[in-house]
């Protein structure tokens, strides 16, 4: 059907129809969309073909595993018996998948390139209407096959839900080990599915609150190395690191701007902490707040035009929104309790926060204009919410009954948070945007 266009997969197409497909698939169906993921195929033959098919099978399983993590999609378990030929990638037998109850279908291929890299192509269909929803191709080094598979998962997620997929992203957090009296804290970075887990600080000094740059190749974090807590910026590729602000003042709570060019943070130059912004490669820090009170935990809106932060200027911690230059501050939280640790969602719709009230710390969301507040967790000791790129999930820290911190994923649909598997205790999670 579309086989003649098959080699021009590298451009994203079909997203214009994704919107209508979303309505078609979601109308009246609160349950997850069932998606069939038969094993990706390969145009290659001989030994190379076998190698590619083996990689394609691993990628297929990873895609299914990614999508199974979501609240919106329910993948059928991939079965090697559902092998299809290369031309069928763009001409699948829709009736076969409709019969199995699938509303959506993902096909694709893995092809060896002459330069040693791989092309991974993915196609997403509305199986009921027999219509393509999107296609995308990725050229990656063989060692990066997981990233290509995550991109395919993201394509399917976006085509069906309309929200960006968060599978090809990274998570940074503080890995905690040892007894409470001699806790060892290290910054750890991993892929969002837990792979490629590695420690990026040595554990010889207390470290806090890592925040990844939008490309997830840098992170800003707080270190006690000089005695005073100060922000350091670490390049994850070169391992080079330096203090964000070259003075002796206490600085903390760093967050990158959505374009990665700036870091907004808190600093104590006077009797209390205020919000400052500085270029992510250094320069002069510009002061944004001057009110008497502790101002901290600033987070940019996705278009970079506004900043949400917390302040106790009214006597208790509350959320405030201001323009990115510090003008037009206004309070947005007026509920009972104290509001802290805000983070603006990537789609701009919500601000996640930690609410302290009646003996519990809980995660909630509120609209940037202060309306629509919802508390999403029961606590009793939750903190540090961080959005997924999809804006439909929040990663946060929960301390269990014994006081041990772990990382939990929460979907906005109100289901029970799920604990992430990490090698030890973890706190201060930060979830990067989807890596380009």
């Amino acid at each position: 059907m579309k086989a003649h266009r098959f080699r021009t997969v590298l451009l994203l197409a079909g997203l214009c129809v994704a919107g209508s497909a979303q309505a078609a698939v979601q109308a009246g169906t609160p349950a997850a969309v069932v998606i069939a993921i038969p094993p990706l195929t390969s145009p290659d033959t001989g030994a190379k073909g076998n190698e590619m098919l083996s990689m394609a099978w691993q990628a297929t399983q990873l895609i299914a595993s990614d999508l199974r993590q979501t609240a919106e999609l329910m993948p059928l378990t991939p079965d090697r018996k559902d092998y299809y030929s290369y031309p069928e990638v763009t001409a699948p037998t829709f009736s076969k998948w409709r019969d199995k109850g699938a509303k959506a279908l993902l096909t694709g291929f893995v092809q060896a390139r002459s330069d040693g890299r791989l092309t991974v192509g993915c196609y997403v269909y509305d199986a009921e209407k027999g219509r393509e929803l999107g296609r995308k191709g990725f050229v990656v080094a063989p060692s990066d096959w997981r990233r290509a598979a995550h991109k395919c998962s993201g394509l399917a997620y976006q085509a069906i839900t309309g929200a960006p997929g968060m599978f090809d992203s990274r998570i940074a957090y503080v890995a905690e080990s040892g007894p409470p009296s001699a806790r060892v804290k290290r910054i750890a970075v991993m892929d969002s599915d837990g792979f490629n887990h590695r420690y990026v600080t040595a554990g010889d000094t207390i470290v806090l609150t890592p925040h990844l740059s939008p490309k997830a190749n840098q992170l800003a974090y707080v270190s006690f190395v000089g005695g005073t807590p100060q922000i350091r910026v670490l390049n994850l590729e070169s391992k080079e690191q330096h203090p964000l602000v070259p003075n002796g003042a206490m600085s903390f709570a760093p967050r990158y701007s959505p374009d990665g060019s700036k870091i907004v943070f808190s600093m104590m130059l006077g009797p209390n902490s205020d919000i400052y912004v500085v270029g992510s490669n250094g320069g002069f820090a510009q002061r944004l707040t001057t009110a008497p009170g502790t101002d901290t935990d600033a987070s940019f809106s996705p278009d970079g035009s506004k900043i949400v932060f917390e302040s106790d200027r009214s006597g208790t911690q509350q959320l405030y929104v201001m323009d990115a230059n510090g003008a037009n501050e206004r309070r947005i939280s007026f509920g009972s309790g104290w509001y802290a640790a805000p983070e603006w969602s990537p789609d701009g719709e919500w601000i996640a926060f930690t609410r302290r009230g009646a003996g519990a710390r809980q995660i909630g969301i509120i609209k940037p204009d202060g309306s629509g507040e919802k508390v999403l967790t029961t606590g009793p000791a939750d903190d540090s919410p961080s959005w997924a790129a999809s804006s439909r999930e929040i990663l946060f820290e929960r301390n269990d009954a014994s006081g041990r911190p772990g990382l939990y994923r929460l979907t906005l649909d109100g289901s029970e948070p799920r604990k992430m598997t990490i090698p030890q205790d973890g706190s201060d999670p930060d979830w990067s945007p989807t890596i380009d």
Binding site: P229, A253, T296, D297
Partner: protein, 149 residues
């Protein structure tokens, strides 16, 4: 007494400077006595006993010093004025119920409050530093004055 000691120190440094400039000059007199530095743990015990405590507590979300905190800090200030050779660091610990960054920030404010009170009572500023642990070593919100040397 203090002034005399300072004068002695000044003389000593002058003398050693002169000796450095004139390598041939041999010093004949015995080296003048410098004040004996007591071991740190002895000083710590004395500080705690004489000043009424090393720790002051804060309530709620406040960085303000209550009457009890001020009494203890006054005792600390009196001791520190008598021991100009000792430097201290005020370390503030936060409440584990607090959020991460607010605990750091309010801790820094509390540390500054306590430090400023000591300075107000006559302790030379270079003798006192201050820092916050946030909630890294949690417990009741408190400022602990730690003798550094």
């Amino acid at each position: 007494m203090i002034r005399k000691t300072l004068l002695l120190i000044a003389l000593v440094s002058l003398e050693s400077a002169a000796a450095a400039q004139l390598p041939g000059l041999r010093r004949r007199d015995p080296v003048p006595a410098v004040p004996v530095q007591q071991p740190l743990d002895v000083l710590r015990a004395d500080f705690g006993a004489q000043s009424g405590g090393t720790t002051v507590y804060f309530s709620g979300n406040s960085a303000a010093l209550g009457p009890q905190a001020k009494t203890i800090l006054s005792g600390q200030a009196a001791w520190l004025r008598l021991h100009p050779e000792v430097t201290v660091r005020i370390e503030v610990h936060g409440d584990s119920g607090d959020t991460r960054d607010h605990a750091l920030a309010i801790g820094a404010r509390r540390a500054e409050e306590a430090r400023n009170y000591l300075i107000l009572l006559g302790v030379p500023a270079p003798q006192v530093s201050a820092m916050t642990w946030g909630k890294e070593r949690p417990g009741a919100p408190r400022a602990v004055t730690v003798l550094v040397r």
